[in-house]
């Protein structure tokens, strides 16, 4: 185009030049009158030259026009090619063209800016990680960014045909819902991808106005990660919740406003509703306002908020079933930046513990009451005095307002003592026919009757008590050995709740009083006799009077016996007087003797049960036997002690009504005939003595048995048993039963030597070193013995043996043996020694290299290359030392559960690593290892490194404890949700006695002598198995090989 125009212009110029030059020339030539031919010739010449001239001129002009044009042309071509980063150089000359260049450059700059801005925007949209779509009013997608494609798979072209109700069908479940109804805040929904997958997203629609029409910009956020996170949070919260709920104690979390923000099931169960968001007092009491406002100053939560320290208190409350319980309420601060942000409040049910405490206190109380009553009874033989003292004591103890004692006199119940009631009432109710009213009924039936409130008790409708003002009431029989002697009553003017315990104590008190009453009656009979004899035998009377005083004044059994024998010795002057008792088995025991004989210790087994002796016949037949010369007596066998020194013997049975419990024996060196008076006196004396002894024994038994309350004994972890002075077991606790592996019933009444049938301590039996015999001699001992119980369990027992002494006389009455099981402690000691031994041993070999070689290098024994070699060995041995130390540390770390990383375990990788790691050693040992994996074990999770270490240690063991040519098989398979790993070898095998010790730290079995090792390998394996919640079993046969089987669960319990 340009060219044509240029030529055209050239011609125009030429034409103009020709016209302009030729025409004037023609005119000029014509006027000069030249020949036409000549004119034509000249004109032609001039025309020709002017043409050339014109051509040259036009050429010059046209060049100055085309050059700038070309520059512009090229520049526009560069712009078209996308190059914007240049400018056309400006020329100095100011003309149309320079203006053009300026404009062009300006345009270029503008274009560049716009393009860059556009690029930025595009890049931004391109790079937006979150998908973004723009829709029109009808929900049609009219624009989107690449992230949309990335998330949902729609290409741009496909996306532009979409309606958003297809992408977010969950939002448009109702067909009429239009995009206008979409909330303009983030909302969680699911987007449907191109291939139909549901992807959780968070969308935030924003309506905008654009050119007068509505548009909706929707940014979409991929919420899969968010969901995962949320799930994790939920899981950890669930975990926390299940932990909280698994606690039996009640637990609340309380925020700064005293509101409950968390409560576990135990709390919800007790309250019956969830207290979250509410205020609580002592956990279970819901309040409208916080404790602070209603002045509940003892609220632990409040205390913790002010003090910032944990606070514990006790609180009586009802449990979910309405029973009264004692709770220990503990409030614990959660502190952040020095401020208490939450308080955790616990309630622990302490009722059982409290009850145990109460029980102990109660038992103690009951015991001391009975003790006091016993003391009263022992102090006096005057009935009214006893009645008064006991009743007042009981009144005081139970806080009663009054009481009375009724004694049966033939068919009538007569009041012997009363307090707290009017004389008028006593006149009415002081004499009751047997079976009449409450006391009468109790006296007849022997049953206890108690009443919470007499005035409302339907059973007492017709009783005289009904309108007496008495409310709380009890009536207890006074039970003697064979019959009921009367009743006693206690009452208060307020209702009184009698517990089972109260009834038991009262029953015991009633029995004690009943027996005391029997004694008193007998005593009174004796007094009657005494009065009858008064005139006749003055001396005897005196004796009896002294005797009665003596017997009624003494307290302890031993004191009583001593005094009695001394009394006889003084009055009747025998050479020897002895008191013989018959024990449960029928043996005759010399309980007390005067004067003391050096040949025998009291008590002394005089005759075995089936020996026919004067004493046994006297007791059996209840007769007084007198033998003048025992050396000549054919009927009886006499103990050598007596036969040797004495000639005559008189025995009087000790009678307590129904049976004879022993006898009194009086021996004389010379033949002696006791007078009738003497015998008569002894008869009375023995009766009273027998009763006194029985009374004493009875009270002593009560005290003894209660004192050794089995509950207390059983709660002791150490084994405890007691024996009587003859070595027979009288009580034993639970722990001792377990150690001896024998039932209590089978032990009681037997000798200790009958239980301990095995073990080293057996040789002590019957010797003076026996701890029991030491204790029975009054000494105490502490020894360590080894004991094998009938079940074959071996114990090492620390045995402490103490004598049991009479609290009054200090006489040894038995022994107490306490044995503590120190087997575990001993085992620990042994292991500790073993560890020190192994460590020192294993560390010595590398140290030999380090120390010995250093010495040689320093000494100049080796130099140069050899010295370098030495250094190499020293370095290697140093590393070995270091490895042993790390192994030791590894175990202690594993034990503390540090560094346990759970993830998918790549069994394949482990196997390859093992194959590679051991190939050299296997080759050296000319061995062979077969590795097999059965089933799909790819989804096993655990600690990859630890599992590998475990397998390495096992294979290493197989290689270490075997000869050349060992064959090892490693099988890994899945069996019912368990990963079963079996490592089997054809090595030396493990002796049976070593197997239980395997896995103990540093334990090196029998083969330890022959091999190097730390004794740590298998203990590491054991720890790793434990961490994975698995089990380990070892089977081995010496000379055949060893098989180790490990089972690890695929699904581990949350630990």
């Amino acid at each position: 185009m340009y060219k044509l125009r240029f030529i055209y212009m050239l011609f125009l110029i030429l034409f103009a030049v020709v016209i302009l030059t030729v025409a004037p020339l023609l005119l000029l030539l014509k006027t000069q009158g030249l020949e036409p031919e000549l004119i034509t010739e000249r004109v032609l010449i001039i025309t020709f030259y002017s043409l050339i001239f014109a051509f040259l001129i036009s050429l010059f002009f046209s060049r100055s026009i085309t050059k700038p044009l070309n520059i512009l042309k090229k520049a526009s071509a560069r712009v078209r090619a996308g190059e914007l980063d240049f400018g056309i150089p400006q020329r100095d000359r100011i003309d149309e063209f320079s203006d053009l260049v300026k404009t062009f450059n300006h345009m270029l700059k503008g274009l560049k800016e716009k393009t860059e801005e556009l690029k930025k925007k595009e890049a931004y949209i391109e790079l937006m990680t979150d998908p973004l779509i723009v829709t029109d009013e009808d929900g049609r997608v009219i624009d989107m960014n690449p992230a949309f494609t990335r998330l949902l798979g729609y290409e741009r072209s496909e996306a532009l045909e979409l309606n958003i109700n297809k992408v977010f069908p969950h939002l448009f479940r109702e067909p009429n819902l239009s995009i206008k109804d979409l909330k303009s805040w983030p909302e969680e929904t699911k987007a449907i991808s191109k291939n139909g997958e549901e992807i959780p997203v968070l969308i935030s629609p924003t309506p905008i106005k654009f050119n007068g029409s509505s548009r909706l910009v929707i940014t979409i956020k991929d919420f899969r990660e968010g969901l995962k996170l949320r799930e994790e949070i939920r899981l950890s919260r669930d975990y926390l919740e299940s932990v909280m709920n698994s606690i039996q104690d009640e637990l609340l979390v309380i925020d700064k406003d005293f509101r409950v923000i968390k409560a576990n099931h135990a709390v919800i169960k007790r309250i019956g509703s969830n207290p979250e968001g509410r205020f609580c007092y002592m956990i279970s009491h819901l309040l409208e306002r916080p404790c602070e406002e209603i002045q509940k100053l003892d609220c632990p939560v409040q205390v913790v908020f002010t003090t910032k320290r944990p606070f514990v208190t006790e609180h009586e409350d009802l449990d979910s079933e309405g029973r009264s319980r004692t709770y220990e309420v503990i409030a614990y601060p959660v502190i952040e930046n020095g401020e208490v942000i939450n308080v955790i409040e616990f309630a622990r049910d302490m009722t059982d513990k409290k009850q145990l405490e109460k029980e102990l206190i109660r038992r103690n109380k009951n015991l001391s009451l009975l003790n006091e009553i016993a003391a009263i009874l022992a102090k006096s033989l005057r009935a009214d005095e006893i009645f008064y003292s006991v009743l007042e004591k009981l009144k005081e103890t139970f806080g009663m307002d009054g009481g009375g004692i009724f004694i049966i006199d033939r068919e009538t119940l007569i009041c012997r003592y009363h307090s707290g009631v009017s004389e008028e009432f006593v006149r009415q109710a002081g004499r009751l026919p047997l079976g009449h009213d409450i006391p009468g009924r109790v006296a007849q039936s022997g049953m206890i009757i108690t009443s919470l409130d007499v005035s409302r008790d339907p059973r007492l409708e017709r009783s005289m008590l009904k309108h007496s003002g008495i409310r709380g009431y009890c009536c207890i029989p006074l039970k003697g050995k064979e019959r009921i002697h009367g009743v006693f009553c206690l009452f208060s003017f307020k209702p009184f709740h009698w517990t089972m315990d109260d009834e038991e104590v009262l029953r015991a008190a009633g029995e004690m009083m009943g027996l005391a009453f029997e004694n008193i009656t007998l005593y009174e009979k004796v007094q009657g006799l005494y009065r009858a004899l008064k005139d006749k035998r003055q001396k005897e009377l005196e004796n009896l009077s002294i005797m009665v005083d003596m017997l009624s004044g003494t307290r302890g059994l031993n004191e009583l016996l001593d005094a009695s024998l001394l009394f006889i010795k003084e009055r009747l002057n025998p050479d020897l007087v002895g008191l013989v008792k018959i024990d449960q088995t029928g043996n005759l025991i010399l309980r007390k003797v005067l004067p003391q004989l050096k040949e025998l210790n009291e008590p002394y087994l005089l005759y075995k049960e089936n020996v026919s002796s004067q004493e046994s016949l006297s007791i059996k037949e209840s007769v007084i036997i007198q033998v003048k010369d025992i050396k000549q007596e054919p009927r009886f066998y006499y103990n050598e002690i007596f036969k040797k020194d004495f000639n005559s013997c008189l025995t009087i049975p000790l009678t307590t009504g129904e049976k004879n419990t022993g006898c009194l024996s009086l021996y004389s060196r010379t033949p002696r005939d006791f007078t009738e008076e003497e015998i008569h006196f002894l008869k009375i004396f023995s009766t009273v003595l027998a009763l006194s002894i029985e009374r004493s024994e009875f009270y002593e038994n009560i005290l003894k048995q209660e004192a050794l309350s089995t509950t207390i004994l059983d709660s002791i972890e150490d084994g405890v048993y007691t024996v009587d002075r003859n070595g027979y077991i009288t009580s034993i606790n639970k722990a001792a039963e377990e150690i001896f592996y024998i039932r209590r019933e089978k032990i009681l009444g037997k000798k200790c030597s009958e239980i301990i049938l095995h073990g080293a301590e057996r040789k002590l039996c019957g010797t003076d070193e026996c701890p029991l015999s030491i204790a029975l001699r009054g000494g105490s001992s502490s020894t360590e013995i080894e004991y094998l119980n009938p079940k074959g369990r071996r114990f090492i027992l620390q045995v402490n043996c103490l004598p049991l002494k009479d609290p009054v006389t200090g006489e040894v009455t038995g022994a107490l043996q306490v044995f503590r099981d120190i087997t575990g402690q001993k085992e620990l000691d042994r292991m500790k020694t073993e560890i020190i031994r192994s460590v020192s041993h294993e560390f010595r070999t590398p140290l030999t290299a380090i120390i010995g070689m250093t010495e040689m290098i320093l000494n100049g024994d080796v130099t140069g290359e050899r010295a370098r070699e030495y250094l190499g060995i020293m370095y290697r041995e140093g590393l070995r030392l270091s490895k042993m130390i790390s192994e030791l540390l590894d175990i202690s770390r594993l034990e503390k559960r540090e560094f346990f990383k759970v993830g998918p375990v790549e069994i394949k990788k482990i196997i390859e690593s093992i194959k590679e790691g051991f190939s050299d050693i296997i080759e050296k040992k000319e061995g062979f290892i077969a590795i097999k994996v059965e089933g799909d074990v790819s989804d096993f999770t655990g600690d990859q490194d630890k599992i590998e270490q475990m397998l390495r240690n096992l294979v290493d063991n197989s290689l270490t404890y075997s000869d050349l040519g060992v064959r090892i098989s490693l099988i890994i398979k899945k069996v019912d949700d368990m990963l079963e790993i079996t490592v089997k070898d054809t090595g030396w095998g493990i002796p049976e006695e070593d197997i239980p010790h395997l896995g103990e730290k540093f334990y090196r079995g029998t083969h330890g002598e022959k091999t190097k090792g730390t004794g740590l390998g298998l203990s590491l394996v054991k720890e790793i198995v434990k961490l994975h919640g698995g089990t380990l079993s070892i089977e081995s046969k010496v000379g055949k090989g060893t098989s180790v089987q490990i089972k690890l669960p695929f699904q581990r319990q949350v630990e």
């Binding site: 031994r837 041993h841 140290l847 060995i873 022959k1010």
Partner: protein
């Protein structure tokens, strides 16, 4: 004069190496690494003194000691036991079976040499 023969029986190569280096000026040192071969070697070589490690795989030093003392023609050879145990009861056991000396690891090669020289005299 011919050097006296010392036999070192130890599975740990560096022990033999140290003893060899330390003793080579005064004695001829023979090292046995595999304890199963030890007894045959002793019978064949009849060394003047044996340094014997206690703990070795398969056949222990104590086993070898017992065998030496059971052979009439070997029992006069003095045996020095090397041990890493350093326990009195082990020492007693070793001496009971006829070991002449009892050397506890780590030991000084110089002192060991002195003890051997003291026993056999300087070559």
């Amino acid at each position: 004069m011919k050097k006296k023969k010392i036999m070192v029986i130890d599975d740990e190569p560096f022990i033999s190496m140290m003893i060899e280096d330390k003793f080579k000026d005064n004695f001829q040192v023979l090292s046995i690494r595999d304890s199963t071969l030890a007894l045959d070697a002793i019978k064949k070589e009849k060394p003047d003194l044996i340094i014997l490690d206690w703990m070795m795989p398969r056949v222990s030093g104590l086993d070898i000691l017992k065998s030496i003392k059971a052979e009439p023609e070997l029992k006069e050879i003095p045996v020095f036991m090397l041990t890493a145990k350093g326990q009195e009861d082990d020492e007693l056991a070793g001496l009971k079976y006829g070991a002449e000396r009892y050397i506890t690891k780590p030991f000084s090669p110089r002192e060991l040499l002195e003890l051997v020289i003291e026993r056999l005299g300087r070559s």
